[in-house]
Structures are given as C-alpha cells and as structure tokens.
C-alpha cells in the first residue's frame, strides 16, 4: 500500500496560470461557463431554492391532516394528499432544508478530517503515515451506509450522529486523494525553502501546502456532497431520519409508496427533487474537475482508481 494513483500530478504544472490570488475562484468561474457546469449548477440551485424558500411559501402546515388519504391532485392541493391526508405540496416544500443542511455538514466534516489526515500522512512520513493510512484501510472496509447503520444501531437514530457517521465515512477516501496530492506538492522548492527557514511542520502544511490543495479539495467536496445527499436521503428512506411527523423527502418516498396507484405525486415529487439535486451537484463537480485537469479525460476515472489506491505502478 504505497503511493496512490496520481490525480493531481498531471495537473500540477499549470500553477503559472493559476497562481493569481484566488485560483479556485477562476476555476469555479470557468466551470460555470461550460454548458455542463451551467446545467449542473442550475439544477442544483433550483432544488436548493425549493428547499430554502419552501417553508416560507408553504400553503398548509406540513403536519396537519387537511385532505383525504392519497387524495388526487386538485386545485386546492396541487400535488394531492399523502398516506395520512396531509398536503403533499407543503410537505415537499418543508422536507428539503434539513437534508441539505445535514449533507453540507457531513461533507464539511469529511473534507476537514480527510484533508487533515491525508496531508499529515504525506507530509510527516514514517509512523504517522503508517498509522493514518492503516486506519483509513480499516474504515474503508465498511461500506459507507453500513458504517452509518452500525453507529446508528449503537447510539440510536440521532440526527447529529447521522451527520457525524456520514462525514467520518467520507474521510478515508478524501485522505487518500489529498495524501497523493500532498506527496507531490511537498517536493516543490517553496516548501523546501520554508522548511530550511525553520518553519514548523504544522505551519508549513497550513501556509505552503494547503493553499495548493484548494482545487483538488473543491472537486472532492463536490463528490462528497453528492454522496452525502445520496446516503442521508437513503437513510431517511430506510427510516433513519427525523422522527415521524416531520416532512423529509427521503422519508416521504418510503411512506407514500404504498399509495403509488392512487396518488403517485406524493412519491414522484420528492424523488424528482432528490434526483435533480444529486445530478446537479455531480454534473457541476464534473465540470469543475474537467476545468482543473483541462483535458477531455474523465476525472472520475482517476478519482475512482484513486479510491482503490495502490498499484498504479
């Protein structure tokens, strides 16, 4: 288990173009201007809009029984009723913000923990590297969803625990990518100069290495955000989300699917929103990754192989 596949090394040379003050901003901007990036961002923002503005414009309370069980759509209830006779539209408008918030928090945890671990492993070499990467191997032996389910079964289905579990299960993959990127950067002259000037390792990592990791971290964050949404919505679908009366897109799909014949909108509406959100974030991430690599080679393949880690001789 030595070095990981080089995602970043091929992209390393362009610093000349990108060493302006906020290179990542220009990367984001170029990504937005590609058709792919624009489409992805539009889809994601559309769903974010529904989730954020939704609660303010919801016509009914998401938990009141206002119509009939699985009522067909009507003028007063455009998306009909759910399995208890609540307004589907109001539940859709209220059921997204917490999912988004939890996914963002889990992504942040995964990126911060993963980047810290990967950077330290690569920069400190020796025993710390060994310990961190073996821990990574062990956590990677649990499928992400199973890891989350295991923690939930121990400590009960608490929302903060879901966020923590999903975040921590992201960390190993992030650590691997960041470790291989750091290995490359640590060899650069300006890092050596900083070391010769007697800068402490923690400071070298924060001041010299981290700024060069912003672009790969951005791509990682996008990928992990998509996965967070998938896993957290999936857990809600399995019944591990907010407790019952609350509205949640994942939960809605599960509780209303027995009534698909009567009012399919109670399932289709939340399903389409989740689908648009994940497709949007993933497509935008794809556009960003393409900009950073700058070739027509699919970056995910590199990332995929990187998840596997070793063996790219």
């Amino acid at each position: 288990m030595t070095g990981t596949a080089p995602v970043i090394p091929p992209a390393a040379p362009p610093p000349a173009v990108l060493t302006r003050r906020h290179p990542w901003l220009s990367v984001l901007w170029s990504a937005v201007r590609t058709p792919r990036g624009a489409a992805g961002l539009t889809m994601a923002l559309l769903v974010v809009g529904v989730a954020v503005i939704g609660p303010a414009v919801s016509p009914h309370s998401p938990t009141d029984l206002v119509t009939l069980t699985f009522a067909k759509p009507s003028g007063q209830f455009p998306l009909g009723g759910d399995f208890l006779g609540r307004d589907v539209l109001s539940r859709v408008l209220n059921g997204g913000w917490l999912l988004l918030l939890m996914a963002l928090a889990a992504t942040a945890i995964g990126i911060v923990v993963g980047a810290a671990a990967g950077m330290s492993a690569a920069y400190l070499h020796g025993p710390p590297d060994g310990i961190i990467m073996r821990t990574v191997d062990v956590i990677l032996a649990f499928p992400q969803l199973v890891f989350a389910l295991l923690l939930l079964s121990l400590l009960g289905p608490k929302l903060w625990l879901i966020v923590l579990a999903v975040g921590l299960s992201h960390a190993p993959a992030v650590a691997r990518v960041i470790r291989s990127a750091t290995l490359d950067i640590a060899e650069r002259d300006y890092v050596k100069v900083a070391e010769l000037q007697g800068m402490r390792p923690a400071k070298v990592m924060a001041k010299e290495i981290l700024p060069n990791l912003v672009t790969p971290l951005m791509v990682e964050a996008g990928l992990r955000l998509t996965y967070s949404i998938v896993i957290i919505a999936g857990l809600a679908f399995l019944g591990f989300g907010q407790p019952p009366p609350a509205a949640n897109w994942g939960t809605m799909i599960n509780e209303n699917r027995i009534g698909l014949q009567l009012n399919p909108w109670a399932v289709i509406a939340p399903a389409v929103l989740i689908a648009l959100l994940t497709i949007g974030t993933n497509t935008f991430t794809d556009a960003v990754a393409r900009v950073t690599i700058g070739v027509d080679r699919r970056p995910e393949e590199a990332a995929l192989l990187d998840d596997l880690g070793p063996e790219q001789a």
């Binding site: 032996a141 969803l145 019944g239 698909l260 399932v267 994940t278 497509t283 995910e300």
Partner: protein
C-alpha cells in the same frame, strides 16, 4: 505485449519478461495483500465487537432500554456472555464466526446462523447476477462509445451515464417500480412477498427489478472507464502499427484494443462489486428482497446486536476479499507490472 498493456503510461520500459521470474512477485504481492487483508479483518472484527458490546454502557441495557429490570438484565447478560471477561467474550464470538455458533437473535430467539444463511445466499445471487450483467453491458457500451467517439451514440450515452452515476439507488428503484409495476405498466411485482428463509430462485421474476436497479447504478462507472481506456488504446502506437500493417479493424478491436482496455477496467469492476456490498442494503429493503441487506435494516431497527455484528463482519470480509481479488486480477491482466523492479 509487454509494452502494449500500459495505456496509463506513455513509455513503458520494454523489459523482456522472464517467465520464471514472473510468478515470484505475483505470489509475493498476493501473499502481502492477503496478510494485510487478514489483519484488516481482525481489526474490523474487534471494532465491531467492541462497539456493540462495550460502548453504550452495555448491550443488555441498550436492548432492554426502559424495560430493564435487574432480573431480565441479568438473564440477557448471561445470554450475551456479558458476564465473562472481555477477551473471552471476544474469543467466544470470533470462534463462533467460523463454527456457525453465533448465538441467538435477540428479536426472535432463533439461531443467527439459521436466519442469516438463506439471506446470505439470496444476496450472493443478487450480487453475482448483477455483477455479471453489469460488467458485460458496461464493457460493451463503453467499447462501442469509444469506437464511435463523438458520434451521437457517444454523446447521449456519456450524458446519461453522468446523470445516472449520481442517482441514489432507491430513486432508481422507485422509478422502475413506477414504470413497470404500478403507475405506467403492471408487468412485474413491486415487492417480493417471499418470507425470509426462502431462496430467491424459487421465484426468479422477483430478481428482475432488484437486478435491473443495481445494474443501472453500476453500469455508468464501468462504461466510463471502459470508454476512456478504449480511446487511449485505440490511439496508441501499437494500434497504429497494426493498422499500418493492414490488420483488419475487427482484429485490432478484439485482439489489441479490447484486451488492453480491460486491465484498467477490472479495478473499476472490482470497485462496483465493493459498492454492491452497500448497495444491496437499500435495494433489498425497497423490494422486500430477503437478503442480508434487508436483514441488516431490520436488525438495526430492532437493535438485534448478534445479527448486526454478523452481517457487518460478513460485508466487511466481502469488501476486503473483493479488494484483494481485483488487485490480483488486475495484476494478472497487466504483464508489465508483474516484472520485479
């Protein structure tokens, strides 16, 4: 062939391969991988054991919750061997993993192995059928897209693949249910009514939708990798050489480009088998398919600790084994990397 197999690297050293020396590094690597795998699994088993036995005060409390009274607590502690020392608890459990003596489910008192065995087989059938179909479809589509690079087929499949890679499996499953078993058409059963403990092949039509869901989820990854690898292979020197020599195009594709694109794709196929270890959980739950994924969801809902421990360890073992397997197969498919350096 030694130079031909490395699409990832532009200049492969054309070292002559000595047949006798080839076996050695391969064996070494396999042995090392196996060693690391065994250690990883041991650590995983310890974590799973410690987590479920020790963390929340004690498992008996966690199970009984508010219904705990001293007598019941005591009985359950005995049943879970919590009155023994930690090390002997671990040993009882670990040896049980190999002998099948895993204790009884806390939910219904039946032996864990008896509950888990048919579920294991059902899940294995699901994973295998999905893996085989998904691999064939992914490789074929990827190769066709690469051969028709920049055609409408290539563009359409690439965009669809990008969209589908990010879809949660339960959304795909619900979409298929809407299309094929409820709202639009009524061709297939939406959920299986098989009781747990029955083998899935007694009603093969129940496999169709779960397999279709998982195939749709894994094909895009294999497709994209295959397409990228195949494009690189088709642009390589050895393909140009073959073309200049007048080798017929079908032989170039089947004899040169395809075998050389498979090697990098194998790792992605391995990753997809890894994904299936987690993916079966949600899909089995959606379709009420009696496999270990559904068993895990039920066990977590009931806090059925012996069942959770067993299923998590089985999934982790599968994960580690697939990892080792795909590394070794990728190595076998890449002669250049077998050369000792």
């Amino acid at each position: 062939m030694a130079t031909a197999t490395a699409p990832a690297e532009p200049t492969a050293p054309a070292e002559p391969t000595v047949p006798g020396r080839n076996e050695h590094p391969l064996l070494m690597l396999t042995a090392r991988r196996l060693g690391v795998g065994v250690v990883t699994l041991l650590v995983v088993s310890m974590i799973v054991f410690l987590a479920t036995e020790v963390l929340p005060g004690n498992a008996a409390y966690a199970v009984l919750g508010r219904n705990a009274n001293p007598a019941r607590l005591h009985a359950l502690e005995r049943q879970l061997h919590l009155n023994q020392g930690l090390l002997s608890q671990y040993w009882t459990w670990l040896s049980g993993l190999f002998t099948g003596k895993l204790g009884a489910s806390l939910a219904n008192g039946q032996p864990v192995w008896g509950l888990a065995e048919p579920r294991l087989i059902n899940s294995a059938v699901l994973v295998l059928v999905t893996g085989v179909i998904g691999t064939v479809v992914g490789v074929a589509l990827g190769a066709i897209a690469a051969l028709r690079k920049d055609s409408w087929f290539d563009h359409v499949t690439s965009v669809v693949a990008l969209a589908v890679t990010s879809l949660p499996e339960f959304i795909v499953a619900i979409g298929l249910i809407i299309l094929f078993s409820t709202v639009v058409l009524h061709l297939l059963p939406a959920v299986s009514l098989l009781p747990p403990g029955v083998y899935a092949w007694s009603q093969p039509e129940l496999l169709i939708l779960p397999v279709a869901t998982l195939v749709i989820v894994i094909v895009p990854y294999i497709f994209r990798m295959m397409r990228a690898a195949m494009i690189e292979a088709l642009e390589s020197d050895y393909v140009e050489m073959a073309r200049l020599k007048g080798v017929p195009e079908w032989r170039i594709v089947l004899g040169h480009a395809l075998p050389n694109s498979i090697a990098p794709t194998i790792q992605v196929i391995g990753l997809n088998f890894l994904y299936l270890a987690g993916g079966v959980v949600v899909v089995e739950y959606v379709f009420n398919y009696p496999g270990i994924g559904q068993g895990l969801v039920f066990a977590v809902s009931n806090r059925d600790i012996p069942v959770i421990q067993f299923i998590v360890v089985v999934l982790a073992a599968f994960y580690v084994c697939v990892n080792i397997g795909s590394d070794v197969i990728a190595l076998l498919a890449t002669p250049r990397r077998r050369i000792p350096r």
